[in-house]
Symmetry: C2
Subunit: 384 residues, 2 copies
Amino acid sequence: MTDAFPPNLLTKSAAQHLHELPGHSKDAGVDGWLLFSAASVAYLAGYETPIESGPAAYAPHPAALLCMNGEPPELFLADAERLPDPPTSLLVTPFASYTIDRPLPGLSGLIELLLARLRRHAGATIGIEPDETPAAVLTALMAGLPGLQKVDASGALRHLRTIKTLEERALLRAAVRLTDTGQQTAKRMARPGMTEIELYGEIHKSMEMMAGTRVPILPDVLSGTRTAEVGGPPSDRAMAEGELVLIDLVPRLHGYWGDSCNTFAVGEPSSVQRVIMGGIERVLAGAIAMVRPGLLASELHGWMHAEAAKIGPAFAHHAGHGLGVAWHEEPRITSYNDMPLEAGMVIALEPGVYFPGEFGVRKEAIMEVTSTGADVYTGWFDRQ
Amino acid sequence: MTDAFPPNLLTKSAAQHLHELPGHSKDAGVDGWLLFSAASVAYLAGYETPIESGPAAYAPHPAALLCMNGEPPELFLADAERLPDPPTSLLVTPFASYTIDRPLPGLSGLIELLLARLRRHAGATIGIEPDETPAAVLTALMAGLPGLQKVDASGALRHLRTIKTLEERALLRAAVRLTDTGQQTAKRMARPGMTEIELYGEIHKSMEMMAGTRVPILPDVLSGTRTAEVGGPPSDRAMAEGELVLIDLVPRLHGYWGDSCNTFAVGEPSSVQRVIMGGIERVLAGAIAMVRPGLLASELHGWMHAEAAKIGPAFAHHAGHGLGVAWHEEPRITSYNDMPLEAGMVIALEPGVYFPGEFGVRKEAIMEVTSTGADVYTGWFDRQ
């Protein structure tokens, strides 16, 4: 990244969240927290779970964070993994994961450590994330510590993450800047005869070179009639002159996820394509202009959907979502969600129209909700 | 991929495994199986879990496979996901995952379906993979179905996967061929001044273009003194003339993992580098020549380690491992493992030496154990 970007921003951000966590225990009805999700260990411990190749044979769950009220927080980290720069308040304790002198231990070493730590908390109530906690761990804790109570803290944690700190906003801005690089590469390199997968290779390479490291990414790369399919990975389809290309890039940088979608023509767009792309840009620009504290997510969705429907078959997906240590979080910009926007939220807005069998257009920008409106992070959209 | 590669080979392979699974129930002491791991759903249902961007907000666990003896096997698949070509014997049942008219349901829809299916199996014993099963599911099943018994079937499943069928060997050969492409790109493109991450971008792009689709990959890309560190992701370090580059590529293609490691010099190697690289190649060639049914994994490890130690500080990692729907499985080629090699195993062998602060050299080839020796899949190694 650029030299101006403080390398330990994720650590600083996590340290602050870690410091504040005990203050939320009462509201959540817990005496402590035992957290396995990639989102939580990034948010609270600054640990970026390696995800690009799936769960590792050596460490299907590489990290677990235990925060008991009144005790130092402790991250249990598979000894095949590293956390180079942990928050100073955090204990980092390795557990056996990669072994060559005996069979792979799985989670047994972690379970032993957790049993030892929790033994002095008989009768405590711990907040967990049941969808992300391995059954092996919970079964062993419940069997070994009969007084231990557990509650689902997933909702409380998601709620905590909705408003972003200064540090998080800087992290998100950097992740969005990375999508700008990807979008610029896409527009510069796309040409007739090139396959979607080759274009994607150029996009991804340019983003990884900017980051100076690997960048996990969730991409939609669609061309021609595929753009009507809303989403999907790059294929070996070759792009043709005059076709539309839809590029949605969701990369992780320093633990935080960027997002961005653009649709453009290979070569010159037809006048129909031009009108529809211009229409969706105006919906996006109008939505950005509406953003302010107090506006309900459902109102924003309703306006965007109604405006898109004036152009064509309007999106059947969310109109937007929060961004953070997960690539889709609160506030979800959806019809049911009466959550009011608040200053410090960082949201994606992504109106689209999709003409089945012909083409689709989606444009997406990321912005911070400020006290007076929106601070747009996405660079390429303004420049169009 | 090449036109010669049957596109439904993963489905065929899974169908066969699915057909044979009930026959293993007695040995495993179970009346059925409930499986969540990416390895198991690929092996038995032909489903390739999308992994490149970590657990999805919409479906932290996208697939669960339920196989009760005497009933058709059923894959529960998040409705945000697709399995275009399931085995004909497999029921595929969607569960709600992505919703826009109400909050995201997490695993609640899946849990409801599992409770309904398992209600008629009161008192049954199901085999599970406790490290990969979400606590939310197991807790709900145990609470809702008090008679249900669970046993850890992870070991039994790993054992099943050790010997590869004809289809699996074709799948692994294709995944290894993909690593050949990556290694050829690495050798062709590496030049003084290029960063590791740029070289990696070219490697990954070439592999994805060959596959015609995204390729999840676990890479070590190290240059200069970093090669002594054994492994690690590409960084923004620039390579210099005469330095060594170590490239270990572990990609997934059609559900199966390839593997391959080469070490070469940018420009001309020094005579010391040449001698050491030649030495490690001879250890690898010697190990390949030893491979035959009946040879113990521990014997193979012992010979390789002793030979590498004659050259320099010998590897402190495994000497090799099985490959399949996981990138590291049995037979682990390690000092403790007295498992005999058998025809139909597909293994990686990867001797190395690492001179701290100077450089490291590792060479790795993949081979099938045949009735008489080894059939080497790795193309670039023979050609050197």
